[in-house]
């Protein structure tokens, strides 16, 4: 155990007692008393035997304790490109999925009963677990925090929950223009495949398994890379004893983790556009790569940032917002990061019709930084502002503790901030121009606009060759149909038993037509309502549906290669996709499927016994020649089909649809489902046949293409 040097019991009075007499001509000068002295709080550092670095800072103002566990060398940079999302989901499910002694739901109940929180999340290069509670519950939340970090069980149900969350996030990622512009700009700067820019896709989320999470946790959550900071209402020696109790016996893993990758940035000007048609404002980002902490230019860049785009009074805000009234937000910043470079950016959101004007003004202000030294007023704002607000670096103890943990991990002196202050004090206007020349590269700016180009005041091509970014969201990959010869043999055998249970192949082969009259009940925002339906199916490829609605009868016919719709006397050909979808529907039609069961033109594989609608079911996966894939669930006792699941169009876009057969009837020697529940896109539709006729008379003209189409 080594205690950190007790450094810097400096009275801030020494640093900040500058009684300023401002030089404003028109305003009465005001003198300020010296700032009251105060002690910079000094956290205590202890290293546990397993390498965990502990930082403790007492604060008895309020009865609260706040714990954070930072795991370094742990984050999304470690996940394979095919499994983006793994790190985030692992940390989420560590918290939600329970531990070897408690379920996640139990942990939720326990924490919420005392108004406490424990959360865990992974970033690009490190991960954080955080707990906050009234101090009387300090040990309880500390124990939970340790349990979550050390003994997660990755419950499958909570993995599904995390995947649902992440998939939903993917589906929403093009809804908010500001979110879009930041995401795509990050990709431009670090590279679309870079671990610092890439985002999860449906395919990468689907690819993550429980085993991946177990392995990720075992490899990346290592005590040797951990820092634990505690601030609040506790006694340091008691807290240390608790930390040893819950974390001290965690053995250090031997596995060495790779360092986060470097960035090889090549400066080049680019012009990029992502279309969003439902906005009337363009989101604009301009910039290039930024810097790494430790750069000697950091102090001068702080002042440069203040002059260029820090706040009101900065060049971007003054000109783009105040003088031209072009934007509500106009800002810019050259950032530094510890592990990999930060970014340089200028941002504004302006009405579509002033996009070009705003871009020009932003570039002009960036360029001005290399030419026009800051005026006395600008220096006051940027430099004095930073120095005068220095005390706010110490106004919260949590902030002091967090900063110390960062400095300590990245090898910065603990009085780095004080050193920085001394350096900023020395920055001159000429230094700002010089640093702008070194750090900014106005000839090699990457420009990205998210907006509606049709309404722009000038084409983006005026700024260079436009690269249009495809922001469409790649759909989930359909699970490839794969089956062993054994599964195929079993599949066929079970299918034949199923067909036998329903009346046998011969009976199905005799079916030339099925006429059904029935009802369809739907839940809509206006309530549940029922419609009369009629359908006529003629194997192998003809179908006709009539839905009787209050507005008239809607008829949809598919006649082999073509299809059409009739409604209120109006006729319309069906688009090719809909005809194709209807062919897939024919493949999924069990009557047509069973008629071909003895010599199938499709593959069927038995995938074992699963749960369907809370009951045991034999799972049969199908791949038809049309490419249609679906799963049939069969009752393993009586071999009647229980239901079907497939990917297709739902009311809410592409998704999974499920049919559940709830009642069968014997009709002309075959058993047919007469009641079916369809679940798709969160909507439930009940179908009920009231009368079914097999091989009845029908008019062949019903399938003749109407005149004039």
């Amino acid at each position: 155990m080594k205690t950190m040097q007790r450094v810097m019991l400096i009275a801030v009075a020494l640093m900040l007692a500058i009684a300023v007499v401002p030089a404003w001509g028109r305003i009465k000068p005001m003198t300020y008393p010296p700032l009251n002295p105060f002690e910079i709080p000094q956290p205590q550092k202890i290293t546990l035997d397993n390498g965990i670095r502990v930082y403790l800072l007492e604060d008895h103002t309020l009865p609260i304790v706040d714990l954070s566990v930072v795991t370094n060398r742990c984050g999304s940079y470690l996940e394979p490109p095919a499994k983006v999302g793994l790190a985030r989901m692992t940390f989420e499910v560590m918290r939600t999925g329970g531990t070897t002694t408690k379920t996640g739901d139990q942990i939720d109940e326990e924490l919420e009963a005392i108004g406490a929180s424990v959360e865990a999340s992974a970033g690009a290069v490190n991960a954080t677990a955080h707990a906050n509670a009234l101090s009387e519950y300090a040990e309880q939340v500390l124990a939970t925090l340790a349990d979550v970090l050390r003994h997660p069980v990755f419950d499958q149900d909570k993995i599904e929950l995390a995947k649902t969350g992440l998939r939903s996030e993917i589906s929403r990622r093009n809804d908010q223009p500001m979110q879009m512009v930041v995401r795509e700009f990050t990709k431009l700067l670090y590279g679309a495949e870079s671990p610092y820019a890439r985002v999860p896709e449906y395919v990468t989320v689907d690819a993550v398994t429980r085993q991946d999470m177990v392995l990720f946790h075992a490899a990346a959550v290592q005590p040797g890379n951990m820092q634990i900071g505690v601030v609040g209402d506790f006694k340091a020696d008691e807290m240390l004893a608790l930390l040893k109790k819950y974390f001290g016996d965690w053995p250090t893993a031997a596995q060495e983790l790779p360092a986060p990758p470097e960035i090889n940035y090549v400066f080049a000007p680019t012009v990029n556009y992502a279309e969003k048609t439902d906005v009337n404002q363009s989101n604009i980002l301009l910039g290039h790569i930024g810097g790494k902490m430790g750069d000697p230019d950091y102090p001068a860049t702080i002042v440069m940032n203040g002059v260029l785009g820090g706040g009101f009074g900065s060049r971007l805000a003054d000109n783009v917002r105040t003088r031209l009234g072009l934007a509500y937000t106009a800002m810019g910043n050259y950032t530094f990061q510890y592990t990999y470079p930060g970014i340089f950016f200028a941002y504004a959101a302006t009405k579509s019709e002033s996009t070009g004007k705003a871009i020009r003004e932003m570039i002009k202000q960036i360029k001005s930084m290399q030419v026009d030294p800051p005026t006395a007023t600008e220096m006051k704002l940027a430099k004095d502002g930073w120095l005068n607000s220095f005390v706010f670096n110490f106004d919260s103890r949590a902030q002091v503790l967090g900063r110390m943990m960062t400095y300590d991990y990245y090898g910065f002196p603990l009085d780095y901030l004080q050193q920085l202050k001394a350096a900023v004090e020395k920055v001159t206007p000429q230094d700002v121009v010089e640093v702008a020349k070194r750090k900014l590269n106005p000839d090699n700016l990457q420009l990205l606009v998210v907006g509606k180009a049709d309404d722009f005041d000038e084409p983006l091509a005026n700024f260079g060759t436009v690269n249009t970014i495809d922001i469409s969201i790649p759909p989930p990959a359909q699970e490839a149909f794969a089956a062993s010869p054994e599964e195929l043999a079993q599949g066929k055998a079970i299918l034949l038993k199923t067909v036998d249970a329903c009346g046998g192949v011969a009976a199905f082969k005799k079916i030339k037509s099925i006429n059904t009259v029935g009802k369809m009940t739907m839940n809509t925002p206006q309530g549940a309502f029922t419609l009369d339906v009629k359908s006529l199916e003629v194997p192998p490829d003809k179908s006709r549906q009539e839905v009787i609605t209050p507005m008239g009868t809607q008829i949809m016919v598919v006649n082999g290669a073509e299809g059409w719709m009739e409604m209120g006397g109006k006729k319309q050909m069906l688009p090719a996709e809909q005809v194709a979808e209807s062919k897939k529907e024919n493949d999924r039609n069990t009557t047509m499927l069973f008629a071909r069961a003895d010599n199938p033109d499709y593959q069927v594989a038995y995938k074992g016994e699963v749960e369907f609608q809370g009951k045991k079911a034999a799972r049969l996966d199908f791949l038809a020649v049309s490419g249609a894939q679906f799963t049939l669930f069969v009752d393993p006792a009586g071999y009647l089909p229980m239901g079907m699941r497939f990917a297709g169009q739902t009311m809410a876009g592409p998704g999974t649809a499920e049919q559940v057969y709830t009642e069968y009837k014997q009709i002309s020697g075959v058993k047919l489902p007469v009641k079916t529940t369809i679940n798709a896109g969160g909507m439930t539709i009940e179908m009920e046949s009231t009368a079914t006729t097999i091989n009845g008379q029908y008019d062949a003209a019903l399938f003749a293409k109407p005149e004039g189409m």
Binding site: L16, M30, Y32, L35, N36, P37, F38, L62, I64, T103, D105, E109, E110, E112, A113, I114, G115, A116, L134, E136, Y137, E160, L161, T164, S168, E169, N174, D175, P177, T277, V279, N280, Q281, G311, F312, G313, D318, T322, R323, G325, L326, A327, Y328, T329, K380, D384, G385, N388, S389, V391, F392, F394, D395, S396, P525, Q526, A652, G681, G682, M683
Partner: protein, 500 residues
């Protein structure tokens, strides 16, 4: 199944734990005693809370005026004034005030002529073009005298942090923090903008606000939906107006209208300042008298009289949009001053306040048809009767309507089954912990004090909130659920995702 019994036993265990450890260690009255309140002769109230741990001080000035006070045909004017309050005074923000005044008068005259011309039956486009040219020239003349953003620059260069302001339906707040040796500077700057405001850059600021509207409402699907939601839920009360103003009404703002608005509402009896940090209350009192004593005494302006009539039919707003589905449900409820406020707060927590809330458990954890389910006790304000709101984000592939059906069924169930006592214990524990957390920042405390004083006319109400929640019984919750969660009292708004 198995999990449920585990969860149940965990709850019982916690009940015991809370009962055993139920001696709350923190004494809120000690904090309450540290507050020094005083009122100037002109009626302005100050609340001072000493905290000498760090030499910094946070300020919040709240005026009892907001979007609900916007004049007819000028919705959003209270927000516009908040922007104008950063434009300076006759001393701050100008190079030559006398010359600037003349230039501004010319500019305003041309704008008035333009407005008049635009109203004519037969608009004379030649005259409009000529006026626009005159406006451009007059604006350029004004610009010559402007010291851009001098007011905020002054705050920031002296070490001010967090400088900003916010306009709500109920009130408007102006806030930032200074190193504590700059206390007098705050008094000087903050009082000056309400003693002697100058509306320079007026017409450009209208454009800035239009960009803010595009950002928050028109180019933001949730902004668009909330806009439709409140317009449908309120027929008469200004909670249904656009807080940021309608585009055409933003164009209708004039310096004259803004000045009338300012003079009516920014009077000392309508303003409260809360100051938290390293200050001496006696000195604060003296400075308050010196600087804010300059504001002339005036009666508190008359409040909003319009009352929202009882809703008699469910209102459903379906918004076809390219973005993903979102669901909002609102039920009319009384103002925060009503005794039902505390039960409604508890109900919001029970229904949608965390991972164990009814809606989260049912829609997110179990059915996995949503990724987020939150309930708000008061929306979009709490000073007047508003809405109890529910916000649900459906999971991928699930419609807002499917979530609506499940959420409403859950609400119906809750009306018939009393809330388990153990759940109420949890709600009270969370209220307590959140109250303590809310006190951990100076600016947060200052905001809460000022808000309580404005809302209830007494800052002490802030400390009574917890007692009120602690007094809530399961029967109270069931009663308010049955009173307010009725179909004719409901407004539902949702995004229905459509293809391009």
């Amino acid at each position: 199944m198995n999990k449920r019994s585990l969860a149940l036993s965990a709850t019982l265990w916690l009940l015991l734990l809370v009962a055993a450890g139920g001696v709350w260690a923190f004494d809120f009255s000690a904090m309450e005693k540290k507050v020094t309140p005083f009122t100037l002769d002109n009626g302005m109230t100050f609340l001072v809370l000493e905290d000498h741990s760090v030499p910094v001080v946070s300020f919040v000035l709240t005026a009892d005026v907001g979007g609900t006070n916007d004049p007819k045909e000028r919705t959003g004017l209270s927000h516009m004034f908040e922007h104008l309050a950063f434009k300076g005074t006759s001393e701050i923000g100008t190079k030559d005030y006398k010359a600037e005044q003349k230039a501004m008068a010319r500019l305003n005259a041309f704008h008035d002529q333009l407005r008049a011309e635009q109203q004519k039956l037969n608009v004379d486009s030649t005259r409009i073009a000529a006026l626009n040219d005159s406006i451009t020239a007059a604006q350029a003349e004004c610009d010559k005298y402007v010291e851009m953003n001098e007011y905020s620059t002054w705050v920031e260069q002296e070490g001010g942090v967090g400088l900003n302001a916010g306009t709500g339906y109920d009130n408007t707040s102006y806030y930032y923090s200074f190193p504590s040796n700059k206390l007098e500077l705050w008094f000087h700057l903050e009082s000056s903008r309400f003693v002697d405001p100058v509306f320079r850059d007026f017409y450009k600021e209208r454009d800035v606000i239009k960009e803010e509207r595009r950002m928050r409402v028109e180019s933001n699907p949730i902004g668009r939906l909330v806009d439709e939601f409140i317009h449908s839920a309120f027929r008469a009360h200004p909670y249904g107006y656009a807080l940021i103003g309608q585009m055409s009404e933003i164009d209708n703002y004039t310096p004259e209208a803004a000045m009338t608005f300012f003079k009516k509402y920014y009077v000392p009896s309508n303003m409260v300042a809360a100051i938290v940090g390293d200050v001496d209350p006696a000195q604060v009192k003296a400075l308050a008298q010196k600087y804010f004593g300059r504001l002339p005494k005036a009666p508190k302006p008359e409040g909003v009289r319009i009352m929202e009539p009882a809703q008699t039919a469910e209102r459903i707003v379906a918004m076809p949009d390219k973005s993903q589905p979102v669901l909002l449900v609102g039920y009319h409820r009384p103002a925060a001053s009503d005794p039902d406020h505390a039960p409604l707060q508890a109900l919001a927590d029970y229904l949608g306040g965390g991972r164990t809330s009814l809606l989260y458990k049912n829609l997110v954890k179990e059915k996995k048809i949503a990724t987020q389910a939150v309930a708000f006790p008061s929306f979009p304000g709490e000073k007047f009767p508003g809405l109890f709101g529910i916000f649900i984000t459906p999971a991928k592939g699930i419609t807002a309507d499917s979530c609506r059906v499940v959420a409403l069924a859950e609400i119906e169930r809750l009306k018939n089954e009393p809330i388990p006592e153990a759940e109420l214990v949890k709600i009270k524990a969370r209220a307590k912990a959140n109250m303590v957390r809310g006190m951990s920042s100076r600016d947060g405390l200052a905001g809460a004090l000022a808000n309580a004083q404005i809302l209830y006319g007494d800052w002490r109400e802030m400390f009574k909130e917890l007692d009120k929640i602690n007094a809530v019984t399961p029967a109270d919750i069931q009663r308010v659920a049955n009173t307010y969660f009725t179909r004719p009292n409901r407004t539902v708004a949702y995004i229905e995702t459509v293809e391009e």
